[in-house]
């Protein structure tokens, strides 16, 4: 009966590719794990995603990319958040991402990186942990 904290997250898809199966799958998995998921749809610019994340006051942002442009787009979202005074919001990213890019993304400020092989439980746990850290920082 104790009321559990409900975390708000945003799932966005920056870039031009129009496949949002991965993003939608993730959104549904997070919903089923009790998250409130703001979904912003496909083909968004990093600036649009950051602005939405600020207005929705989410505790974490999840990005999906299948186009191969993640090395440019994911850090661009981190940058856009910083420019909106919201550099503290953790960014997680997933998609078709080669192993050698994972380190580069983390260096660029991406909190966690998921690949098609990552079990969904692990992804959800990573979102939960990112949200908890963010929430603790705020209070």
């Amino acid at each position: 009966m104790p009321e559990q904290k409900t975390y708000r997250v945003l799932i966005g898809k920056p870039g031009l590719d129009g496949h949002d199966r991965g993003a939608k799958f993730l959104a549904r998995a997070l919903r089923d794990a009790g998250f409130e998921v703001v979904y912003t749809g496909i083909r968004r610019t990093p600036e649009e995603i950051a602005a939405a994340a600020v207005q929705e006051d989410v505790s974490a942002v999840g990005l999906s990319s299948l186009s191969g442009a993640h090395l440019r787009l994911f850090p661009a979202v981190v940058e856009a958040l910083k420019n909106s005074g919201a550099g503290d919001i953790p960014v997680l990213g997933g998609g078709v991402i080669p192993d050698e890019d994972i380190g580069l993304l983390k260096d660029a400020g991406i909190n966690e990186v998921f690949t098609p092989g990552t079990p969904v439980e692990q992804i959800i746990a990573a979102f939960r942990s990112a949200c908890e850290t963010q929430e603790a920082r705020r209070t």
Binding site: R31, D32, V37, Y39, T40, A51, A52, V54, Q55, S84
Partner: protein
Amino acid sequence: MSEQILKGLRDRDPRGIARAISLVEENDPLADEILASLDDSLVDQAMVLGITGPPGAGKSTLTDRIISKYRSQGKRVGVIAVDPSSPLSGGAILGDRIRMMGHALDQDVVVRSMATRGRLGGLCAAAGAAVRILAGSGCSPIIIETVGVGQSEMDIIRLADITALVLAPGLGDDIQAMKAGLLEVADLLIVNKADCAGAETLAMDMESIAREGSGKEKDSAKVCMTVASEGKGIDDLLAAIETVDASHRESGERKARREKAYDLEVLDWAIEMIKPSIIKKIEEGGLDRKGDPRMQAVKLLEKE
């Protein structure tokens, strides 16, 4: 931290506004200070427009177009988009914003998604407070988008000064069931997807239901036809909204509704506030579990 949020709110900083809404929604101790800091005259004057109807009718698309029109008039627009929480997980997918992303970079369009959270009380309280925070930050109109099913969604629409019911052809039979209750609260009837087969029939249908409906202003319940996806019919819709607003302001209807909404929110807040202490008492094992649960509740409240 609290100073920062209050200052952000005063400066209409997007982050400050967003944080303030969260803190109030979470019933944070800072909520009182936030709500007390709002500019009452802005809150009093703002127009709150409720848009309700079945899923897929085009409410979000329509909202997007309405935003554009009001923006072209130089108005700052707020949106509260409410979606139901999953009763199983408590989670929710809040997807209304997808249709409004064209305004994402416009700082004078403030969109906030909100889940119903299956609250016993609290939804009206949270949404009402969010509306006032947006109004206090200079937004008018403020649009509340909500799916027209379920009691909490019906309650929340009572926060609006004006309510528009959106229907569309081809949405199936559940509309029939919805019509009765919603037509009663609707000031404006909108048939969206006027580009689709069956729109004319639906409009005629609604017109006759509206005319039959007994009581208040039903003769004036006008049906607007729109094609939200193409931005058609929006000028007429805005004119109709303006007419209703002016008449409500003049007749005192607006004031009467606000008073009712005020009472509703007080009730809602009170339930929210009293719940934790009751839950605590139950958890602390203060129950002897003798007799019917109803008697236990009576005893519990007597001790309150």
